[in-house]
Amino acid sequence: FYEMKQAMMNAHPQDNETVGSMIQEDLYSVLAAMLRQEEEYECHDYLEFDDTKIDETCRTKMTEWVFQVVDCTRLQRETASVSMSYLDRFMCTSSPTAKKARLDRKEYQLVVLTTLYIATKIFEPFAMDASLVSKLSRGVHSEEEIIALEYEILVALQWKVNGPTPLQFVNYLLELLSTSCQDKALLYEHS
């Protein structure tokens, strides 16, 4: 996928035809900037780490749960995927809780809750209270635990919380296509 994107970047724009409200050339430069940015938000496959007890099933369950919460509370699905990206990046760090969470599923769940808490703060008009997040865990995790972990996660991610997301790439790549608006909306919906 990365190579495909690279190839698209290298293909020089032929003309300055306006695509939507943005000129093609601008689109290429935005995509190029996003690719550069993406490198700073890198992450590894922590399911392969030697010390991990988290497996694919476990992560899949958590992903489903996050999307369920987001759908029930009418948040944007994009917020859920951003929160999953925080989760994955954090789990690769050597932060104490990340290490613990690789061994302990309960701790892993706490990380999931907290990354969702952070993502809503940044991308939703209305943030969730830490107390609500605590309720979501059915009282397993306290507000204090969530707030303390929020800080730990932010430090571990070095406050890099606005990385480019796959959906944004799709959005820009779609603008490069010369299909009709309706088709684009449909394609976007399917992505």
Binding site: A33, K121, F123, P125, S131, V155, K160, V161, N171
Partner: protein, 305 residues
């Protein structure tokens, strides 16, 4: 992550050389903690260090939202005319979080007061230089910000400092885009020309009146008719004609202490200050405007050198 003691030497954890002047027009006042000028012990560079202000209910709501958003966005931007956050630094306790940023001697407001004499207008070439910087920074932000089209719309009515607030926001329009920023840039353009804020309203209503007085009441405008009828407004605004041409004289040599303004410049100013947000020029288009391609060449302002 580096600890604050890289800048250390006393119990305050950072070397506080002198206090910077407070930032001028900020979008979210709440986030602004104190800004310090400090020396980086590792590189000897002078940097600005801003301490994030925490509300007392930090224990309830965790890391402040506005600060979190500001940091995230600044870290994802990279433009020569936008102050960059070099890194985030933490102290010994969670309420000690610092942003290490490039250090600038002054902000625009301070520069306007300084200059080669407070009452001397900027040279046309200097105004042009600053306008290009502001517009290209804005174009960069807009291209990145397109990624965040949804969030936090409801709150933002209140965020822009009154004097720079676009008219549609004053009428509680809650659906908008980058046009509100180009309006603000128009206000700054005018301010650079006369070294004084051009629309100094004392309240929201007064701000509207000042805007309509300067730019004329939008009597025959589709956008405003729609907005007002949507809001069921029966209020009749006094009919004014635009005063813009009289306020900003074209081709005249500073009888009024105004910077020289070419006809191109005036055209750009009026397009930035278009009452109809749909017709307001975008930052990208403004950069392609003849103001920048014709006439005098840009020059680094005196206060830089």
């Amino acid at each position: 992550m580096p600890k604050a003691d890289r800048w250390s030497s006393d119990e305050e954890e950072i070397v506080l050389l002198s206090l910077l002047p407070k930032p001028i027009s900020h979008l979210d006042e709440g986030t602004y903690g104190v800004v310090w000028k400090a020396r980086d012990n590792a590189t000897q560079e002078i940097v600005a260090i801003k301490q994030i202000k925490f509300d007392s209910d930090m224990t309830k709501e965790g890391f402040p939202i506005s600060a979190l958003r500001e940091i995230g966005v600044l870290l994802s931007l990279s433009h020569e005319s936008i102050v960059s956050v070099r890194e985030m630094v933490v102290g010994s306790t969670p309420d000690k979080v610092f942003m290490v940023m490039d250090c600038f001697e002054m902000d625009l407001q301070a520069a306007m007061k300084k200059g080669p004499g407070a009452s001397t207008p900027f040279a046309q070439s200097e105004v042009k230089y600053m306008m290009r910087q502001i517009l290209s920074a804005m174009a960069h932000v807009t291209s990145i910000a397109r990624k965040y089209e949804h969030p936090a719309r409801n709150m933002t009515q209140m965020v822009v400092t009154l004097w720079y607030r676009a008219p549609e926001l004053l009428f509680s329009e809650s659906c908008y885009g980058p046009e509100i920023d180009t309006w603000s840039i128009g206000c700054i353009f005018g301010e650079l020309l006369i070294k004084e804020a051009i629309l100094k309203g004392t309240g929201e209503l007064d701000q509207i009146q000042k805007i309509f007085k300067l730019l004329g009441t939008p009597t025959d405008d589709e956008y405003w008719e729609q907005l007002w009828s949507k809001q069921g407004s029966t209020f009749k605004w006094k009919n004014n004609d635009s005063d813009l041409a009289r306020t900003f004289a074209v081709n005249s040599f500073s009888a009024t202490g105004q910077s020289y303004l070419s006809p191109d410049g005036f055209d750009l100013l009026s397009r930035l200050l278009s009452l109809n947000p749909k017709k307001r020029i975008t930052a990208e288009d403004a950069l392609r405007h003849s103001y920048f391609s014709c006439g005098v060449t840009e020059q680094v302002p005196m206060f830089y050198v």
